[in-house]
């Protein structure tokens, strides 16, 4: 029983990290209706930026976010303006190709700068742990979960308590109607893309402290992130958070109760069941396509 409880707690803590990474991806989809296949590579880029600051200036990975998050925001805005904004027709399909090209570009650049050897972000709290009800939790997971709550909380406040947030939500819900009430959807899209990419920096730090990574680590990551936002409902932040936590809890509990071999299978089984019942995902909006 203790093992199951431990798996649930661990699933919630790591689920928060995936929720953070997936929230950026689903925000980008919601505002621009594009699938950012490069999001996993951007997470890895964020991890490498923190790795570079740790190695060159001995800056703590969490502290480095003060630099990397704004930097990644700017990178996101530039990527959106140069590569995404020119896509006018068939955005959803073309965006997959364009963002995949971005991912390959990032992977190549990181391989050139850092080689393909695996690295990991280190800090005292990476291995140190504390005991709760008889089981041990590493500080890094607790700090990571706290960071996720802070970043997700900031995104929710931005979206639901500010005029800019209203413009973002309006663009997500009805792009043409948003234009007709005066929202500059190009500007909103660029800033939303920047915010989504800056969350990748935060996710990258925790990912890089809990996993060894190399420039090619984004392939596995993006497949998990896409699965999360499909289960949660494309464009739904709340759905992404719930789906991420559900995925990690199910995987961790299955690994403890049955076998680690069946961990991913159990989650994908849940995904298939949910999509059969609700093709739009847990919190997605069902749309009819005009033919």
């Amino acid at each position: 029983m203790t093992l199951i409880l431990e798996a649930v707690v661990f699933g919630i803590l790591t689920g928060g990290v995936y929720a953070l990474m997936a929230s950026g991806l689903t925000l980008i989809f919601g505002v621009m209706r594009i699938i950012n296949v490069g999001h996993g590579a951007l997470v890895i880029l964020g991890a490498y930026l923190s790795f570079a600051l740790l190695r060159s200036a001995n800056i703590d990975p969490f502290v480095s976010l003060v630099i990397t998050m704004p930097a990644m925001f700017l990178i996101g805005v530039v990527l959106q303006v140069i590569f995404i904004r020119p896509l006018k027709d068939d955005r959803e399909a073309l965006s997959v190709l364009v963002t995949y090209a971005i991912a390959l570009g990032i992977e190549g650049l990181l391989g050139y700068l850092f080689t393909n050897n695996f690295v990991q972000l280190n800090a005292w709290y990476e291995t140190a742990s504390f005991a709760v009800f008889g089981f041990h939790i590493a500080y890094v997971y607790l700090f990571g979960f706290g960071l996720c709550l802070a970043v997700l909380g900031a995104i929710f406040v931005l979206l639901y308590r500010t005029t800019f947030g209203s413009a973002v939500r309006a663009t997500m819900l009805n792009r043409t109607a948003a234009q007709l009430v005066g929202v500059n959807v190009d500007r909103v899209s660029a800033i939303a893309f920047g915010i989504g990419v800056s969350t990748a920096a935060a996710g990258g730090v925790i990912f890089g402290m809990t996993n060894a990574f190399n420039p090619g680590s984004h392939y596995d990551l993006i497949s998990r992130l896409l699965t999360i936002i499909v289960l949660g409902g494309l464009g739904s932040l709340r759905g992404a958070v719930i789906a991420a936590v559900a995925m990690l809890i199910i995987e961790d509990v299955t690994a403890v109760v049955i076998s680690p071999v069946w961990a991913s299978f159990a989650f994908f089984l849940l995904l298939v069941i949910v999509l059969v019942v609700r093709p739009q995902g847990l919190y997605g909006i069902r749309v009819r396509e005009r033919i």
């Binding site: 309006a170 819900l173 009805n174 043409t176 007709l180």
Partner: protein, 239 residues
């Protein structure tokens, strides 16, 4: 009456080709201009052009005698041209209140926005009564009223309505058209595109029949309705 809006020899369309061909059209200040025509005639394209969602390839658009060709939707909105698009133009998961407030997105004067909010609530009591409800929970007619309320937040000089009767039952249809008449009596100029030609032309001071991106006929609303040939072609039966 003087012309508030003029389209002068406009040719415009989308990636697939031109929809409007050297179209010339004027909307008189203080009146209701109704554009009717078969599907694909270019009715909605006129409205997208006026709102700045698309740009003309040739020709120009003037408002109060000044060119507005090439302005962004936001700039056109700030001149006092507000469009209520075809059905489903609200933000479904936002509340009624949030939707109406979005109508004043371009206003920076908060006091003015609050005053407009009060005026809109007096005109459309449903906005205050159901302010906390998501618009998706409202009926089609109620949603149309919220769309009108949102449009009035900028106190527009020209209200552009794209098929306001679409998807409404007969009773709600009457209510919506009465509201359009009331908004016009309150001094607003209205440019209306309507599939239901009888309703639209019956309300209009100026009627325009569009065919293949060109004006086939124009005159008073009653005059166009009374035209036998147009009646047979576009209105379904002898008038």
């Amino acid at each position: 009456m003087s012309a508030l809006l003029e389209l002068d020899g406009v040719t415009a369309g989308y990636g697939g080709g031109d929809v409007l061909h050297e179209l010339t059209l004027s909307v008189d200040e203080g009146g209701i201009t109704c554009v009717v025509g078969p599907n694909g005639a270019g009715k909605s394209t006129i409205l997208r052009l006026v709102s700045g969602l698309i740009k003309p390839r040739l020709g120009g658009v003037r408002f109060h005698g000044e060119s507005i060709t090439g302005l962004t939707p936001r700039q056109i909105l700030q001149l006092g041209i507000v469009q209520v698009p075809q059905e489903r133009s609200l933000f479904p998961t936002m509340t009624v209140w949030e939707n109406v407030r979005m109508g004043a997105y371009t206003l920076s004067d908060r006091a003015l926005m609050e005053r407009r909010m009060r005026t809109v609530c007096e005109t459309f009591p449903i906005v205050a009564e159901r302010r906390h409800e998501r618009v998706a929970a409202l009926s089609g007619g109620q949603q149309k009223i919220v769309e009108f309320a949102r449009a009035l937040m900028l106190d527009p000089k020209l209200l552009v309505l794209d098929e306001p009767s679409m998807g409404l039952d007969p009773k709600t249809h009457t209510v919506v058209f009465d509201l359009i008449r009331d908004m016009n009596r309150a001094g607003r100029t209205i440019l209306l595109v309507e599939q239901n030609a009888r309703s639209g032309l019956g309300l209009a001071s100026h009627g325009v029949v569009l065919e293949s991106g060109r004006v086939r006929l124009e005159g008073t609303g009653a005059g166009v309705l009374g035209n036998g040939e147009i009646g047979r072609l576009f209105l379904g039966a002898p008038v």
